[in-house]
Amino acid sequence: MTTTMRLSHLAALEAEAVHIIREVVAETEQPGLLFSGGKDSVVLLHLAKLAFWPARVPFPVVHIDTGHNFPEVLEFRDEYVEEIGVRLIVGSVPEALAAGSLREPAGNVSRNALQTPVLLETIQKHRFDALFGGARRDEEKARAKERVFSVRDEFGQWDPKNQRPELWDLYNGLLEPGASMRVFPLSNWTELDIWQYIADRELALPPLYYAHERAVFERDGMLFADNEFLPRREGEDIRMEKVRFRTIGDATCTGAVRSDAVTNEDVLAEIVASRLTERGATRADDRVNETAMEDRKREGYF
């Protein structure tokens, strides 16, 4: 009897995430969940739904809109939020730019750096003391060392040398006044786990994740979708390719990969065979230097 009472890896990861989500709601005053419409945040919001079923998810979801989003993703975001029945709060980079509280550096099209101040402003405005994020430790080397409950000071900054010890499954959700937390229930999931879970639970994703014909051009060895936010340089010719996206972020720095994967099973097979990490393959923002992610996190990025 006892040998059969061992959870599968997906069930164990699910149980851990549900435990973490409930713990945050029990211990903090004003939690929220960062939702981009990307696959990790879809899994995260699904787990939040499971954690409180049959009651509603007891916190709002937050989207930091760079203004450079794929329209399919925004459409998906609105439908999914409606289906789950949660409130959506949008922190808008274009609005902050229009209001003058933020200025766009000349010559730089990526709004990655602009996301952080808008995120911090949104946290302050809505007095969030804890924000869930879908980040995983397998994504990046700075993330590999971050706690599940990651405390940020009053400026939203992460201090990697001064993290709270995290023992057993006893998460410390208490905060000094002014401080806040980012909480990562998917810390122990890998890209493969996420896709296995999506396939197993039949979760819907934005269509960008599956192979489709798209007008693209090549830059720095990556394929970018032709879009209004990303001016092409000389010699960057548009061509039609069958592609899909492994990550979905700002349209100006998220690349596509050539793919024929149209079902979850196809995608799984492709990931198993892939020899590049998802960020290495498709994220221009992490290619800047070896500590790009660590530097951004120190400033308050997720």
Partner: protein, 416 residues
């Protein structure tokens, strides 16, 4: 496929990073862009050019790269068709004892590395002691760098015997000793032909097959209530569910249960799991339990069985690992978080400090950063606890500073 959580302890000198790099590389978990980055860094740091430095695959923060050391626990992931593995990669030096304790607290298996040339060191003894103290059920003593002692059996046997003598004083339920060379890849993923005198499995084969299902305590039902779910909607008007993660044991629909500390009893009418309603649930599932009666039960309380209860007490006797610069002293007021219950407590007494290298106990007035010692606490409200060696889930607690809210240490309860 299940998950095995393991911790590795050792320093760069023992070849720990090379070992993990080898596991990631040989199981094809490391990706090309990571390997390219490592190859670039290998050339820059003046490696011998041809061979990529596998240790750099596990490199982390800026400060760590600058100083060439590991400061914090890093989590690594790899999978084979048999199992998914979560590695808590912990630094070896004594000033990072707290990080090793953190990594070991959730590990089902720990790998302690020893350099075949040097034999047991203070550091390897300390690592084994911490694993025993933290209740890690499976230990692998990895005798590394066998290539540097010409794969000599006598060198291996000498360390094996030395460790056996030392470990008699520890609690290590399952020990495996494996000779290997992480640098050459001997006995890490593939069994080597260079040590015909060794008949055991490679490290990876051992990790894939070690029997861990029996380590979960499925005997003592302990269900600490995390959150009460009350939808108050028309459809679920009377729904009242107690959400939580089963710490130990099994719970079934129809079970008679008792709520602690109230002492009121009821019967389980339904169990909702993430996969829908179930007839039975077991540790470590996260579920929602419904009862026949509206009894006094909320976050911090525990559901258990009438004839198998935890100890309900305000007097806590525990080993603690102190993880903060400010000293622990008698008279200090702290918060204790145990299961889902957080209560104020007073430090009554420090019985002794333990030398983590020799196991020697010495009287102490205080415990400092990275010290381990035995203390007594008095909590303002009762905790429902078990002996740590019987249940890490209901025997472990953390100590929190009531002002700064920082985590100061971890404790392991001892019941007489």
């Amino acid at each position: 496929m299940d998950i095995l959580r393991l911790a590795t302890a050792g320093s760069v000198d023992d070849g720990k990073s090379t070992l993990i790099g080898r596991l990631l590389y040989d199981t094809q978990t490391a990706f090309e862009d990571q390997i390219d980055a490592v190859a670039r860094a290998s050339r820059r740091t003046g490696g011998d050019g041809e061979q990529i430095n596998l240790a750099l695959l596990t490199d982390g923060l800026k400060a760590e790269r600058e100083q060439g050391i590991t400061i914090d626990v890093a989590y690594r992931y790899f999978a084979t068709p048999r199992r998914k593995f979560i590695i808590a990669d912990t630094p070896g030096h004594v000033q990072y004892t707290r990080n090793m304790v953190t990594g070991a607290s959730t590990a089902e298996l720990a790998i302690v590395l020893v350099d075949a040339r040097g034999g047991m060191t203070e550091q390897s003894r300390r690592h084994a002691l911490l694993c025993s103290l933290l209740g890690v059920p499976h230990l692998v003593l990895a005798i590394n760098k066998m290539d540097l002692v010409d794969y000599d059996e006598a060198a291996f046997r000498a360390i094996d015997q030395e460790f056996s003598r030392f470990s008699e004083r520890l609690r290590i339920p399952d020990l495996s000793v494996i000779p290997m060379s992480a640098l050459e890849g001997d006995n890490v993923v593939q069994r080597t032909t260079k040590m015909p005198w060794y008949e055991g499995p490679s490290l990876l084969h051992h990790l894939e097959t070690v029997h861990v299902a029996a380590d979960t305590n499925l005997i003592d039902l302990r269900f600490p209530v995390q959150y009460v779910i009350r939808p108050q909607t028309t459809e679920f008007h009377d729904y009242r569910g107690y959400a939580g993660k089963i710490a130990t044991g099994v719970i079934r629909v129809g079970d008679e249960v008792i709520a602690l500390p109230s002492g009121m009893t009821s019967k389980v009418t339904a169990i909702d799991s993430p996969a829908g309603p179930v007839e039975e649930a077991y540790a470590p599932m996260s579920v929602t339990v419904r009862l026949a009666d509206d009894i006094d039960l909320s976050r911090g309380d525990t559901l258990t069985r009438v004839n198998n209860q935890p100890r309900t007490t305000q007097d806590i006797d525990a080993m603690v690992c102190w993880m903060a610069p400010e000293e622990l002293r008698p008279g200090m007021r702290v918060l204790v978080k145990h299961t889902t219950r957080t209560v104020p407590a007073l430090v009554k007494d420090i019985e002794y400090r333990m030398d983590v290298n020799t196991l020697h106990r010495a009287g102490a007035d205080s415990l400092g950063f990275n010290d381990i010692g035995r203390i007594r606490l008095r909590t303002t409200q009762p905790l429902m606890c078990d002996d740590y060696q019987r249940s890490r889930q209901t025997g472990g607690f953390i100590v929190i500073d009531p002002t700064t809210k920082r985590t100061l240490g971890g404790g392991m309860i001892r019941l007489p």
